[in-house]
């Protein structure tokens, strides 16, 4: 599949800066018309991409009167974190006024187990698919990949009935199960390709020495798969944190994740909208994936390039 090709190709390609080029451009005056055009266009787009972040942060630090009479570009005259505090502790979601903090903790409670369970299952799948193929395993894998393109809406209602039948509908367990299911195709693909790239001699040697399925997995495969674990981790944490649909359908109001609460605060709150609080809440919700993004750097690129299959 071509995704895998681009995924593996992107990391070295984007990291190998122009410095490695043996010829290199001949030293030229820096301000050629071409260069000016390139940089102008890039800077224009950079502004388009940065503008919302700037507006979001700036607005969250203003007071409401300043927002009402000022302009959207202006820096806050007296930056204050009042809106942030309110967004965190006491903003109203239409029903309750506890701010975003319950949503944050719900998201944590959803993201951590979902990430661990989904990655573990996918790693085992990938390992079994590469080293312990059984009859039909490739077919299951193909359907799994193909299934990742089925719109979630198609499977949503039957899954509601299934989780209800299992007695976990409207609970954290339900969301965790759903995230595990829908994270499986891409993560399995990721691990399968990674394990396939490892030298098979290691596996064979372990087999000769009499190690079994789990022993080889835990003692040989896992210790060698740290890089792919990091990619999977980035992928799952941002993906699950940013999820809205599964949270709103399966978690139940008690466990709504941060995205759902954020949307409720902004879009269904009564009374005059407090834009500074709204923007503070928005920044807060975006903070976790942003931190992961800035910390992980190039690994994030690899992660999303792989994860985009998830759509």
């Amino acid at each position: 599949m071509s995704q895998t090709a681009t995924m593996t190709g992107s990391a070295p390609a984007t990291s190998g800066n122009a410095a490695t080029d043996p010829r290199g451009p001949r030293p030229k005056p820096f301000f050629t018309p071409k260069k000016i055009m390139i940089y102008t266009t890039l800077i224009f787009f950079a502004l388009y991409f940065l503008f919302p972040l700037y507006v979001m942060v700036v607005t969250s630090l203003k007071t409401m009167p300043e927002i009402r009479f000022g302009n959207i570009f202006a820096l806050p005259s007296a930056p204050s974190f009042d809106a942030w505090v309110k967004a965190w502790t006491s903003a109203c979601t239409g029903l309750t006024c506890n701010g975003l903090s319950p949503g944050f903790w719900n998201s944590v409670k959803i993201t951590i187990p979902s990430t661990i369970v989904s990655i573990f299952i996918a790693a085992v799948n990938g390992y079994a698919l590469v080293n312990w193929r059984f009859k039909g395993s490739e077919i299951f894998f193909a359907v799994l990949i193909f299934g990742s393109f089925i719109p979630y809406q198609v499977m949503l209602y039957p899954l509601v009935m299934l989780t209800r039948g299992m007695g976990i509908f409207g609970s954290l367990q339900a969301v965790i199960v759903i995230h595990t299911i829908f994270g499986m195709p891409i993560l399995t693909l990721l691990f399968r390709n990674y394990f396939a790239s490892l030298p098979q001699e290691l596996f064979k040697a372990a087999r000769v020495d009499g190690a079994g399925f789990w022993r080889i997995f835990f003692e040989i495969m896992l210790p060698m798969s740290l890089p792919i674990f990091v990619v999977a981790l980035i992928l799952q944490i941002t993906g699950i944190w940013n999820d809205f649909l599964f949270g709103v359908v399966f978690a139940g109001p008690q466990n709504y994740p941060m995205t759902v609460q954020l949307n409720n605060i902004v879009n269904s709150a009564q009374g005059t909208p407090e834009y500074n609080v709204n923007m503070a809440a928005t920044v807060l919700t975006g903070l976790v994936p942003l931190i992961i993004y800035f910390v992980s750097g190039k690994l994030f690129v690899r992660g999303v390039a792989a994860g985009a299959v998830k759509g």
Binding site: I38, T41, F45, F49, I72, N125, M155, M184, L245
Partner: protein, 312 residues
Amino acid sequence: MADTAVQSAPAAGSSSRPSALKKFFLHNLSAKVAAIPMVATVLVVFIGCTIWTIYYSFTNSKLLPTGKFVGFDQYERLFATSRWNVSVINLLMYGAMSLVLTLGLGFLLAVLMDQKIRFESAFRTIMLYPFALSFIVTGLVWQWIMNPTLGLQGTMRNLGWTNFTFDWIANPRMVLFALLIAGLWQGVGFCMVLMLAGLRGVDEEIWKAARVDGIPTWRTYISVVLPMMRGVLVTAVVLIGSGIVRLYDLVVALTNGGPGISSEVPAKYVYNYMFSGGNIGQGLAAATMMLLTVMIIMVPWAYLEFGGKGRK
């Protein structure tokens, strides 16, 4: 895909047949046990739930999926509902614009990034960060920026441009463009990264040859490099396409389908009929239509990918 795993034939294959058979089966047993979640996901969720949905879309289920078989009634009603038709047209228009612009801008930016520029990694960081954010965050930020009274429009009017108009979010004719601006903001950077990876994968010799032949750079990009990036392009189209079909969160956050029904999309229609409209049959019929759409996108792609592999 399969070619990566070919060399990893099961270990048992190499040992002598009869004595190894039992051992082989036993070892595979633990592999099978380990694969139960995958098998269950495939059989129960991807196949089972999909068939269930298609089956019940032919019933008149209301609050519970217990209705009796009514043939294509739900589909007839679906296409007689203006909200659905608006949703489909919206998705087609948004999808076409989004696909063309995401690919176009993604490619343009990738080409610019490929000109041995300075600060490349800074530019990439800036262009890609929106992709880390959720559609909810994206939608809400742009909702605020496009707020007619206090957002960009109000600001520009206060600054003196009294005729400045940027009320797309409140204008039924323009609301799709509002969605587009937010959607592009979120997704173009990612497309750029994919394209850039594709560009960097092109052999340097091609560039030398083109230079020797005196072909202008832009011409080389369009006529030589672009066709060579077929794999990346197909991937990008499939990814963007399947993302478009699922468009939901962004609409909920940015416009919630408004003004009126002018920015409704199919995924939202499905959700509303299933979970707040109490008309499950109708929601399932709409979901089945979404599935059909994806199949129309996916089947040619799968044919290209796997059909090509079969010939090897």
